[in-house]
Amino acid sequence: MTGKQKCKILKQIRKQIADANDIRYVIEECSHKGKCKGTCPRCEWEVRMLERELEKRRLSGKKVALAGISAGVIVSSATACTPVEIMERAVNRLLGNEIEGNMALEGDVPYTPDTLQPLEGETEIVEPLMGDPVPESDISYPGEVVEETAVGEVVADVDGLLELPETDYDPDDEPEFAGVPPFECETETDQEWEGEAEIPVLEGDVAYPVDEDEWDETEEVMIAGILIPPEEETT
């Protein structure tokens, strides 16, 4: 899923929340060019505004509809489909595209074209990354594979029959749990780092925005390496 696709889905979720609570929300086409992680200061600002409107509604004694409003937009991969297919179908549903095949996904909300705004855009299947599920037809095995493993060389022939190396493993031994991490990590929450803590950012990750109180929409913001130009003041 591209960042733009993610952004469109999140925008749609915000629209559904707003509609269910009589909050005026107009979906505007994003004018940002270039790589997108799925959110930006503008989108974050819209979320904060929506939260404030919902809180006002709650404080005025009106009912707030939120739980499960968009439950059908995102489905888990716990179905016969691969996650790539799930995402493709979810995006197609939002785009209003016809989908072939049996679309009765478990737990799915029936598709009702009248409630979803048609979105422009294209469906792009992202090339799977290591560890990502892929169609099994794309996998082929070489004649023989030799790989170093934790217990030594593992050799498998074209039929997948494995010749495991001799080890000290004794099936009659009682299982032992590591139980705790092999290395003790001594950290303190108030430990001073040089600059910010270098938390690894996972591929496809969305950067955290700056503190809400420090947001200034008129300033340039650097999010995940993308310079977001300041909003121009309208007169």
Partner: protein
């Protein structure tokens, strides 16, 4: 002592990969396994910078996506690493975040039984990466014996609603085959597992 969670990485606004709805993945540092194709090897590395967060601190970090969590039935997914090693953190986090978020654990179940008992009382959904039920394949791929893992899975099926447990069965190039996977699925179905997700690792 206040339980803390050693967070090694965090990933926002994930969809359709870590449970239903929009989720934030919080990766734990530390894992008893040494999988050959592990995507998150930094969770084993003692040089990895880790933040030990209390439940309140983690909540303050992740609450900015609460609107999406509630609207889509999503929430926080604890992964890693092996998040169940810190099972005592989950009840505390549940107390802080309330009941509107779904808490999911991505786990290998390679943990002591007591940790699983603690987690089962708080976690809403489990995603179990069982690798393979064949002990030789499991040992070769992870470096650990899998008898306790299968015992934990049997226990989990009695503690939690089987509908809320998803078991992932990978096809692991150079370690198992379709035959192994078919046999694993057969064994899992006999145990009472309902949701089985078959997928394939790509090795580059």
């Amino acid at each position: 002592m206040t339980p803390t969670f050693p967070m090694a990485a965090i990933s926002r606004l994930r969809m359709a990969t870590d449970g239903d709805g929009v989720t934030t993945l919080v990766c734990a540092w530390g894992c008893p396994l040494r999988c050959a194709y592990c995507l998150n090897k930094f969770t084993w590395d003692e040089k990895t910078k880790v933040e030990r967060l209390t439940a309140e601190e983690l909540y303050a970090r992740v609450k900015l996506d609460s609107l999406y969590f509630e609207a889509t039935g999503g929430g926080i997914t604890f992964g890693g690493g092996e998040p169940l090693l810190y099972a005592d953190f989950f009840p505390e986090f549940r107390r802080v975040c309330g009941t509107k978020w779904k808490l999911t654990a991505e786990t290998s179940l390679a943990v002591p039984r007591e940790k699983l008992l603690l987690a089962a009382g708080t976690i809403d959904r489990f995603i179990v990466d069982i690798k393979d039920t064949d002990p030789l394949v499991y040992q070769a791929y992870t470096g650990l014996d899998n008898r306790a893992v299968l015992q934990n899975l049997r226990l989990l099926l009695t503690l939690a609603d089987p509908q809320k447990i998803r078991v992932r069965l990978p096809l692991i190039p150079e370690y198992n085959t379709e035959h192994h996977r078919d046999r694993s699925e057969e064994i899992l179905r006999e145990m009472g597992v309902i949701n089985i997700e078959r997928f394939t690792y790509i090795v580059r």
